[in-house]
Amino acid sequence: MTHHLPRPEAQEAAQAFQNAAAAYDEAAAKGDMFRILAEGGQVVRPELLPAAETRLHLYRQMRRARQFDERGWVLYRQGRLGVFPPFGGMEASQCGTAAALTKDDWLFPTYRDTGAALTLGLPIARTLAYWRTSPHGWQMPKDLKVLPFYIPIATQYPQAVGAALAERRRGTKNVAMAFIGDGGSSEGDFHEALNFAGALNAPCVFILQNNGWAISVPTRTQTKATNLSHRALGYGIPGVRVDGNDVLATWHVTREAVERARRGEGPTLIETVTYRVKPHTVADDPTRYRTDEDTAGWDEKDPLLRLQQHLLAEGILTEQSDAALQQEVAEEFEAALAEADSYPDPQPAEILEHVFAEPTPQLVRQRAELLEEV
């Protein structure tokens, strides 16, 4: 299965950016966010619709992510998966953005960005292993530049700047993409990174997923700002606000930002306006801090439903081919689960490995002490 779309040619990309820039400006002028596909699958920017193949690709990636999220809940309840942060409802925000990368690019995901990591190509089995707290989940594939999910908030942003600058120093056209949430955009590292990226013209794409909540704290308590994409202005870099539940819009905007970065035109901040429909983690109880009204209406905005309706209406998908695709995605997941089940448990001494290239005398000694214990 191909995980990646072809890179657009330079001229095509430049033209698309012209079109898109006009569209972003138009949306911003109305105080609105950029979108291509509205609720109900209604196309609001027909001139910006990507090829049918691309739309189908994005649909498949979102299905794979949704499959992980839904099965993850069940596996957690069965005690077969550890605590993990669900992301259902945010697939357009994660898959549409990550789909704009190739395997030569860097991805710095937060703990909630399983959908983005899967889209870039992180194997499902490794991802399950990570949330099972198995060292097999810490072993990132050698053919991907995806980092393990970041638990501390915002630390990944300056690191993405460094990776981007290293690519530039090596003379490649590769970019680095980093994720953060609305809560994370309050951290100092977020602001330092945006400033560094602007000042050093790093080929970086910053995705700010505004999903409404930082655990129990709503965005309005987090900040007085109402448009987080404006944060880019203070650093002299472009900021775009996009409907985070419209995968065609997130893909379109991110692809433009990625190509801009490849051309040496510097970083972009993209705010994807979405919603964390589910709790912070599977162990969290959101009824303590939010009401049903808070979440009402977001199901209709579901990114999968929206694209599905559109694809069916356009005939790109039929009831039959949709069912087949979903079946295929489900089978892919179950095969990966079986693989994850086959990973052996870690050995006790593994906790002292991989601290340094060569263990210090202190680690050698502690290893002996540990082995005496077991």
Binding site: P135, P158, A164, R169, R170, D189, L200, A357, P361, Q362
Partner: protein
């Protein structure tokens, strides 16, 4: 028979550091140096003087003023295969970057099972004795030594500084390189020209002696040498050990000396509680208590912020007199 000629040049410690950085830049295109004021100005202590002119702005560059950003960006550069050498202007300015260091720098190899490792060096001038303003004289080495996954190196001579810095840049893992501000220009010696390295994790016996072991590093080595000279006048043989690296710690050299002398004084300019001196003390208690003929004495700063009061600064930072008193105390027990 051929004789290998080793050429030398007289250098201060800061000149030796500059020489090491120059050599590292020349021999490896992946080495990059960055930080506040390191480029055009050559660093507030001139440790990077002339390097940008010689090696270009892509290799030696000024960053915005933000320590977390500097370390975080360096981590990303290291992930992508470069050898970042970051300068934090003063060790007391390191604190905003602690999240990057504790959460990531020390953990990357571990949390990716060696898929990624960080060959990063962070240089930071540290310590007192030169009458700096507030925050400029801190000695936070124990915080770093307590962080798994990072090495801590603190040289005390120009030759050591050069050889250890070149080793740190070659090291595949992150190394903190603390440079005593007081030592930057306080002594000169003949330093070997060209590339050479000293092993990280090997202490140096500065001066052998049979009666008391004095353990120190960095800016305190000079102080302890003076105290040892004074003790020698009184007929006390002091063995001065310069640790050179705290992580990994050369416990073997320490224990061999303690077995010989049976008396220990540990000297640092960091605050007393939970300092690295306590770590050494605990190791000796665990491994060599039967050889001790007197309680271990620590000579340290105090559990108070370092005072920037020129007139009384020397009360905080141990001087030869305090070390000499401690030597007397362990001898009299």
């Amino acid at each position: 028979m051929t004789t290998e000629t080793v050429t030398t040049r007289t250098m201060t410690m800061v000149a030796a550091i500059n020489d090491a950085l120059d050599i590292a830049l020349a021999r490896d295109p992946d080495v990059c140096i960055f930080g506040e004021d390191v480029g055009v100005m050559g660093g507030v202590f001139r440790a990077t003087d002339g390097l940008q002119r010689k090696h270009g702005v892509e290799r030696v560059f000024d960053t915005p003023l933000a320590e977390a950003g500097i370390v975080g960006m360096g981590i990303g550069m290291g992930l992508a295969g470069l050898k970042p050498v970051a300068e934090i202007q003063f060790a007391g300015f390191l604190y905003p970057a602690l999240d990057q260091i504790l959460s990531h720098l020390g953990r990357y190899r571990h949390r990716t099972r060696s898929r990624y490792h960080l060959p990063m060096v962070i240089r930071a001038p540290y310590g007192g004795g030169v009458h700096t303003p507030e925050q400029h004289a801190d000695s936070p080495e124990a915080i770093l030594a307590h962080t798994p996954g990072v090495k801590v190196v603190i040289p005390s001579t120009p030759s050591d500084a050069k050889g250890l810095l070149l080793a740190a840049i070659d090291d595949p893992d992150p190394v903190f390189f603390f440079e005593s501000i007081k030592m930057y220009r306080s002594l000169k010696e003949d330093v070997q020209t060209g590339h050479y390295t000293l092993p990280i994790g090997k202490a140096r016996i500065v001066k052998p002696g049979d009666d008391v072991t004095v353990i120190c590093y960095g800016g305190m080595v000079e102080v302890c040498q003076k105290a040892a000279e004074a003790a020698a006048q009184a007929g006390i043989g002091v063995e001065v050990i310069d640790l050179r690296t705290l992580v990994p710690l050369d416990l073997g050299t320490i224990l061999a000396s303690v077995e010989k002398t049976g008396r220990v004084v540990i000297v640092t300019e960091a605050p007393r509680t939970a300092g690295f001196h306590s770590e050494i003390s605990a190791n000796i208690a665990e491994e060599a208590i039967e050889f001790l003929q007197a309680p271990i004495v620590r000579v340290t700063g105090f559990d108070a912020p370092y005072p920037p009061f020129t007139a009384i600064e020397d009360l905080y930072r141990p001087g030869p007199l305090r070390v000499a008193r401690a030597i007397k105390k362990v001898m009299a027990y």
